[in-house]
């Protein structure tokens, strides 16, 4: 019996000890991490600033491009940069951003959110830490920067409907305005994907003889797109004349599947993003000029624009309170690319630094080819 008591006492002591340690640590830090309201915008000296670019993963070319742009801006401004890799997980994204905020430096962020619903917790954390954030691509529609305050500088994206229309039209034309296509949306809850699909569907209204056979979400993933396309090819076989994808990564997977099925000369493709491999394919006229429609916008442009917007707000060069709604919930221009006008766009990728220099000169809203063209949120066609 003595045994049990001693062991229980030991256990209790251990537990109490652990609890005390944690408790002390907790109280110790709660005194310093008191919530700063971050309501009033104060100019932050440049040397106190850390740039943070948060991307969804590091294995997608678009994300890699974003990192490139962030790096170029960091070099141009001579301000240190941290990259957050969310690894596709909202949890990881939020916790890492919070960890960086916790380091105490004044943080200037560009976040490509994993999911729309991540925006509020990130923005709130940034606000509490007195940093400045610009969100790219995903946020809830009714979560507006001006309702949060100065710390949520802006939300920026390229219009998805426009992209979908652009590529939808090109694809329909590419298959001769008659035939069947399949579509590969991205992650289903992504507004980016949803708006692009809406654009596609809208475009198809003008092409009554083009039929959208089926949509299968492929999660922005090359591998999944490959498998889904394989299945759809098995299902529809030669009926498929065109493949539309919500981004190029998925289109590249689809192209591979179509190649494997031996139909690369018969099927046309259209998608968004004009990734470097896509440029190569278009130049080489892969298939029978298989890629008929693309859009041009760049991860490095998005990242640099977003980061620079936040940075200007942090240094006080941009008075957030004076920014227009258009500047705080912004749609940036995308360009429709066809094999004919491809050459106009290949020049940008060779000189990322040059573009970023231009961005710093012209400001975030007036740098070609990604200029500010309107205010979000996007209106879905027909709604």
């Amino acid at each position: 019996m003595s045994f049990t008591t001693t062991s229980r006492v030991r256990r209790l002591i251990a537990g109490a000890l652990a609890a005390t340690v944690v408790g002390t640590l907790a109280t110790a830090c709660s005194t310093t991490s008191g919530s700063s309201t971050g309501a009033a915008q104060e100019a932050i000296p440049k040397e106190d600033i850390v740039l943070v670019a948060s991307v969804i993963n590091l294995t997608n070319p678009y994300m890699a491009s974003m990192v490139e742009g962030a790096k170029a801006l960091s070099a141009e401004l001579d301000v240190p940069l941290k990259i957050v890799n969310s690894n596709g997980s909202s949890q990881t994204e939020i916790s890492q951003i919070q960890a960086i905020l916790a380091e105490g430096k004044k943080v200037v962020l560009m976040v490509n959110t994993v999911a729309s619903s991540d925006a509020p917790p990130i923005v709130n954390a940034v606000k509490a830490a007195g940093g400045y954030v610009t969100i790219w691509w995903n946020k809830p529609d009714d979560f507006e920067p001006w309702t949060v305050g100065d710390n949520f500088v802006a939300f920026q994206k390229h219009p998805g409907v426009e992209s979908g229309r652009c590529t939808g039209d090109a694809l329909a034309d590419g298959i001769g305005d008659e035939g069947n296509i399949i579509a590969l949306p991205g992650v289903q809850d992504s507004t980016t994907s949803q708006t692009r699909v809406a654009g596609l569907e809208d475009a198809l209204k003008d092409h009554p003889n083009v039929k959208l056979l089926e949509q299968r979400p492929a999660n922005w993933d090359q591998q999944i797109a490959f498998k889904e396309t394989q299945s759809l090819l098995a299902k529809y076989g030669d009926e498929i004349d065109g493949v539309w994808a919500a981004d190029d990564a998925m289109m590249l997977g689809a192209i591979e599947a179509v190649k494997k099925a031996g139909r690369i000369d018969d099927v046309k493709f259209a998608s968004d993003g004009l990734y470097p491999p896509t440029i190569e394919m278009m130049k080489s006229g892969m298939g029978d000029d298989a890629i008929v429609g693309e859009t041009f916008h760049r991860g490095y442009m998005a990242a640099a624009t977003g980061l620079y917007t936040s940075y200007l707000a942090a240094t006080g060069e941009l008075k957030v309170a004076d920014m227009t709604k258009e500047q705080r919930n912004s749609l940036f221009k995308i360009s429709c690319v066809t094999p004919e006008n491809l050459d106009e766009f290949t020049k940008y990728d060779t000189d990322v630094e040059g573009w970023v220099k231009q961005l710093v000169e012209n400001g975030p809203f007036d740098t070609e080819p990604a200029t500010l063209i309107g205010q979000g949120p996007e209106k879905l066609p027909g709604s």
Binding site: A18, A26, S33, N85, I94, S95, G104, S116, Q188, Q194
Partner: protein, 337 residues
């Protein structure tokens, strides 16, 4: 009461007739203190490399991130405690989050209660199917996982569901702080303490431990083993439901792909880093708190210490293995599956 004659050994050693003696009580102190020790060691390492970690509220962030993981892990630890595995509990949490998000506006306070109850019911069904069809839990819950994922997609229409009103009903969980840590975290800790007490001081807890250690023996002792297993799965559903609420409290929205969609593996890892023996029968919910804190600390700490983002997943994997190798109970004989 101690015996010193050789005929009555009190130390862990094979008995004289050669049956391998299971490691008795000594040595299990590490089992009790290992998980907090691993957590504190990791914390210390991070603090040394990144002194600002504390002052910036690093602990608060760890607690914040650990909360949903902890809730999932508690249920998982209880299920592992009866010798099974619940691959579906994270999906249950997400389902609860989606349901809450879509009903909170109209139902108010009733909504979270209802959603947790519903998901608890799903856990109960899981347990009943498991107990009565005797499909191995790994396979069964893999199947339920698929069903729940589909349910989430259908109920959310594959998109993000936002809380439209009454967000205050849950928002306090992370807005109110006690001793610097969010209330939700303390709730989870209290739940852990309650579960710890249940396992140690109630007949149900003892029964679940017996089932985990030797189910056949438990059956022949007349224990309601099926009911005990159903209870474990129900608890898992319940804690998953609570985890779903914390997701809503954190982000005010839920989707099949967003926050909370990847809690399964962290939950299992947290339970196991918290000293839960995967073979069953050895579960200490208090230590699971430290397991969850360790798992939550990893990405935050890795970023703080400056591990390159590309290498983070590698570090994550390595730390899980090392942490478990250090803290796991090797008490139950030599056979490790």
């Amino acid at each position: 009461m101690s015996q010193t004659t050789t005929a009555t050994p009190t130390s862990p050693a094979p008995t004289a007739d050669g049956t391998p003696r299971r490691r008795a009580r000594s040595g299990s102190w590490w089992q009790r203190l290992g998980p907090p020790a691993v957590f504190l060691a990791l914390l210390l390492l991070i603090v040394v490399l990144q002194p600002n970690f504390f002052s910036g509220g690093g602990i608060r962030i760890v607690a914040l991130q650990a909360t949903p993981i902890l809730l999932i892990a508690l249920g998982q630890a209880i299920v592992i405690g009866v010798g099974s595995l619940d691959l579906s509990n994270a999906a249950m949490g997400l389902l609860a989050a989606i349901l809450t998000a879509s009903t909170l506006g109209s139902l108010g306070v009733v909504s979270p209660v209802l959603c947790v109850a519903l998901v608890t019911l799903v856990g109960l069904v899981n347990g009943l199917v498991f107990a009565y069809t005797q499909v191995p839990s790994f396979a069964l819950t893999l199947g339920t996982l698929g069903i729940l994922q589909a349910a989430s997609l259908v109920l959310s229409d594959a998109t993000t569901v936002y809380v439209t009103a009454n967000a205050d009903v849950l928002a306090w969980m992370f807005n109110v702080a006690l001793a610097g840590l969010p209330a939700a975290f303390w709730m989870a800790v209290v739940l852990a303490a309650v579960l710890w007490a249940v396992l140690r001081f109630t007949t149900v807890g003892q029964g679940m431990t017996a089932v985990g250690l030797n189910e056949t023996g438990a059956i022949f002792s007349g224990l309601r083993t099926r009911w005990l297993k159903v209870t474990a799965f129900t608890i898992s559903g319940f804690t998953a439901g609570l985890a779903g609420l914390t997701i809503i409290a954190q982000s005010g929205a839920a989707s099949s792909f967003g926050l909370g969609s990847d809690l399964l593996l962290p939950g299992i890892a947290a339970a196991i880093v918290g000293g839960t023996a995967i073979t069953g029968g050895v579960t200490n919910p208090i230590n699971v708190v430290f397991g969850a804190a360790t798992i939550a600390l990893l990405p935050i700490g890795a970023a703080a210490v400056g591990v390159p983002p590309q290498a983070q997943s590698l570090v994550y994997g390595a730390v899980i293995i090392v942490a478990v190798a250090l803290t796991m109970s090797r008490a139950r004989g030599a056979v490790v599956k």
